[in-house]
């Protein structure tokens, strides 16, 4: 490190030292005038890899993919003004999805702030609502301490993005370095241990429950692999059915006995009916999102609810619960299991067996079935064939864009372990998947990383193909090409009288040529019979691939709980009767998104 004689170093050098001390090995970024001193320091060292993305939004999603797949915070470095504003979407995305992320932005020198200087933006002002916290550092002596605080805030409590705005003169000036040990935040100390009397109360409810269900979410993944392990033990010890949100897939294995599949708007019939009819709901690290609850006053009307969450503001936000437990999933489950076992691990076995019988009748509906075809590739079929190939290959990570393809990926691709599934759930950011795949592949160079995409979403951040090629990241973009903004088109079909206002993609590029133009491989497939071979070719290729899978254009994604409806008002693909659909979706739901 470039220590000066008097024990000080420049702000720019301090940034690198602080990142190194925080264990950072990868930074996703894009240079510009206001961060040149930091880029100069990056140039002089080789502990931290810098990944040059092609758009700052790409850097933020790549950092999210890196973070979700490793459990470590993602780090982003961008310049002032447009660099910072381009990163806003990714910060809001990380905020909604509880992804730890540290964003460093350059700023115009302190003496020019407020003068409409070149590439000046009020970055701290713009990003205040889309970060957990942000700082403008005006003094080099405070810089390293602030960076350490930022890592602490990003990774503790409900994780999320933080931003540090560093004026250029602060990067050039000398200051004293503070080590992570000496940087503690006085005010911010999230609680990790749950209240034991409340855990005890929860255990009583578990012992007595007759129709229980575990409703788990992203918080289990946030809590780390140990939490997933404990969850599996608790599910095994109780024999209760378990469902998960989109964000929590993989915490409990899809092949597990008690697995009901994902719940919510496009979740399984059995999971949603179990939620609706249960007498005990055990919510673990999920936040009662509106994709889950549907109509609030009809949400699981007869259940007692236990809610484990590290963030007190997630509790009683949308749904009143009976036993709130503030704490980290891993810590709380450890206590819960201990208390449960110490009382002989007893449940009402006879009632639970009857409950499973009811659930089996819902399962028999086979809600994810669809009418397949020999002539045209059904998108569900394509995802199933992909899933099959992934399972055969093993060691896979999946990212997605946003739309119907995202839901089909969630429905048909099985995850056996946490941190293997990255998707933009809360914000629903089209263009997330490819840069996220870049981030995942950076962290797991040997694994198979697939972005399940829609053609419209892919076009939003397709420039990151260039990043993939430059860093030899063999990511596979599996496009379900319906030449439509499929999810929008589906809503227009069901809610807006089939008036397809601007929901089709015209003038699409030739994706095979596009792949080749980037220096990758392009594969197109249009016949169901050719799929397996084409997918095998994609997986075998040692480099980035764009797979253009031409699918049925007007397929709808089912099951579906229309917005503002209750769980038991779910539409299935077999509900082809337009009148039934029209009745299920009355105009009062149309105001909701």
């Amino acid at each position: 490190m470039v220590d000066n004689k008097n024990g000080t170093m420049t702000g720019a050098a301090m940034v690198i030292k602080a990142l190194t001390d925080q264990g950072v090995d990868t930074v996703f970024g894009y240079p510009g005038g206001a961060v040149l001193p930091i880029y100069d320091e990056l140039f002089k060292q080789n502990q931290i890899r810098h990944v040059l993305v092609r758009h700052e939004q790409g850097a933020t999603h790549a950092a999210e993919g890196y973070a979700r797949s490793t459990g470590k915070p993602g780090v982003v470095l961008v310049t002032s003004g447009p660099g910072a504003t381009n990163a806003v979407t990714g910060m809001q995305d990380a905020l909604m999805d509880s992804i730890p992320m540290v964003v460093l932005t350059g700023q115009v020198p302190t003496f020019m702030i407020g003068n409409d200087a070149f590439q000046e933006a009020d970055t701290v002002g713009i990003t205040r609502p889309c970060t957990k916290h942000n700082w403008l550092v005006k003094d080099t002596d405070a810089l390293s301490k602030t960076i350490h605080e930022a890592f602490y805030v990003a990774t503790t409590g409900r994780p999320g993005p933080v931003l540090i705005d560093i004026p250029k003169d602060v990067q050039f000036a000398d200051g004293v370095y503070t080590s992570p040990r000496n940087a503690k935040i006085k005010t911010y100390e999230p609680r990790v241990k749950g209240d034991l009397t409340q855990i005890q109360q929860a255990v009583e409810l578990i012992r007595e429950a007759k129709q229980p269900v575990f409703y788990t979410g992203g918080g289990v993944i946030n809590s780390g692999p140990q939490a997933s392990q404990l969850l599996r033990e608790l599910v095994a010890a109780t024999g209760f059915p378990i469902t998960s949100t989109l964000m929590g897939l993989g915490a409990y294995p899809a092949s597990g006995e008690s697995w009901l599949g994902m719940l919510g708007m496009h979740g399984s019939y059995e999971a949603n009916l179990a939620m609706h009819d249960c007498d005990l709901m055990i919510c673990i690290g999920a936040r009662f999102d509106d994709r889950i609850t549907g109509r609030l006053d009809a949400f699981s009307p007869n259940s007692k609810k236990i809610h484990i969450d590290i963030d007190p503001s997630s509790i009683n936000k949308n749904i009143r619960v009976d036993v709130p437990i503030v704490g980290d999933v891993g810590h709380v489950l450890e206590d819960m299991l201990r208390i449960f076992r110490s009382g002989g691990a007893k449940t009402d076995a006879a009632a639970i067996a009857d409950w499973w019988k009811v659930i089996e009748t819902w399962r028999a509906v086979d809600c994810f079935s669809y009418k397949n075809s020999d002539e045209v590739i059904k998108p569900q079929y394509a995802v199933q064939r992909l899933a099959d190939a992934l399972v055969k290959h093993g060691d896979y990570y999946v990212t997605t864009e946003v739309g119907q393809h995202q839901m089909w990926a969630a429905q048909y691709i099985p995850f056996e372990a946490p941190n293997r599934w990255m998707t933009s759930g809360g914000l629903g950011t089209m263009g997330y998947g490819l840069p996220a795949a870049v981030g995942v592949q950076m962290a797991h160079p040997k694994s198979l990383v697939v972005d399940v995409a829609g053609e419209a979403s892919f076009l939003m951040n397709m420039q990151e193909m260039s990043t993939a090629v430059q860093y030899r990241l063999p990511v596979k973009v599996f496009i379900l090409n319906n030449e439509r903004l499929g999810m929008v088109r589906q809503w227009q079909e069901l809610l807006h009288g089939e008036r397809y206002s601007s929901s089709y993609s015209e003038a699409l590029p030739d994706f095979v040529k596009l792949a080749e133009a980037f220096g990758g491989k392009g594969i197109q497939c249009s016949q169901p019979g050719d799929l397996d071979e084409a997918i095998a070719e994609m997986i075998a290729y040692d480099g980035p691939v764009i797979f253009d899978c031409l699918v049925e254009k007007h397929e709808n994604c089912f099951p579906m709980i229309p917005s503002g409806k209750a769980h038991n008002e779910m539409l299935l693909s077999s509900d082809v009767d337009p009148e039934k659909i029209a009745n299920a979706i009355k105009s009062d739901g149309a105001v909701m998104v």
Binding site: G125, H133, K186, T187
Partner: protein, 186 residues
């Protein structure tokens, strides 16, 4: 009289609108690091999440400790108030949040400067009211007074309302400052 907790309906001269069914008025005291942007954060939380603020005051209260105290009067259903507290508590520069309406008995004070322009009998009447409310005259001309009045918000509402027909020109209010009764600190 059957009064809702936190409601100001005990004032006959209520300037504040009656609260919608199920909503309550709460005074929150928030101890924060006095760093730049902290007020913007708190205000941004309220505007961003659509919470209602009736009054907000802030000033540094501990110079060496770099602490400020923000007093917020907010309205909402109990569930929303609980959210407001939880959202405030998770903010990094926030040390502590106290609900002074329910957690302990408290005193609330507000200061108002009230200008009237009048002559003759109206002028005499406004001075009588000043005395009745124990306000001070802090500026006077032959045609006007500025009164200073300290009290709980209802008292100020009442004073302002009475002066309205007597040539009221301007009112400037500080918003509520509040503190718990008894020996315990925050």
């Amino acid at each position: 009289m059957d009064l809702k907790r936190g409601s100001s309906s005990q004032s006959a001269y209520n300037l504040r609108s009656a609260l919608p069914e199920g909503e309550e008025r709460r005074t929150l005291s928030v101890l924060v690091d006095n760093e730049s942007g902290v007020l913007a954060r708190v205000i941004g939380l309220f505007s961003g999440r659509g919470y209602n603020i009736e009054s907000l005051t802030v000033a540094e209260t501990d110079h060496t400790g770099h602490l400020s105290r923000i007093t917020v009067v907010a309205t909402g259903t109990p569930m929303v108030i609980e959210q407001i507290k939880a959202q405030l508590e998770r903010m990094v520069p926030v040390h502590r949040v106290r609900d002074l309406t329910v957690e302990s008995p408290s005193v609330q004070r507000e200061l108002a400067l009230v200008k009237v322009a009048n002559t003759g009998e109206q002028r005499v009447e406004s001075l009588r009211l000043k005395d009745a409310f124990r306000a001070q005259v802090v500026d006077a001309s032959l045609k006007s007074f500025v009164f200073e009045l300290t009290g709980d918000p209802e008292k100020i509402d009442a004073f302002v309302d009475l002066l309205r027909p007597l040539g009221l020109v301007d009112v400037s209010r500080t918003g509520v400052a509040a503190i718990s009764r008894g020996p315990d600190g925050m």
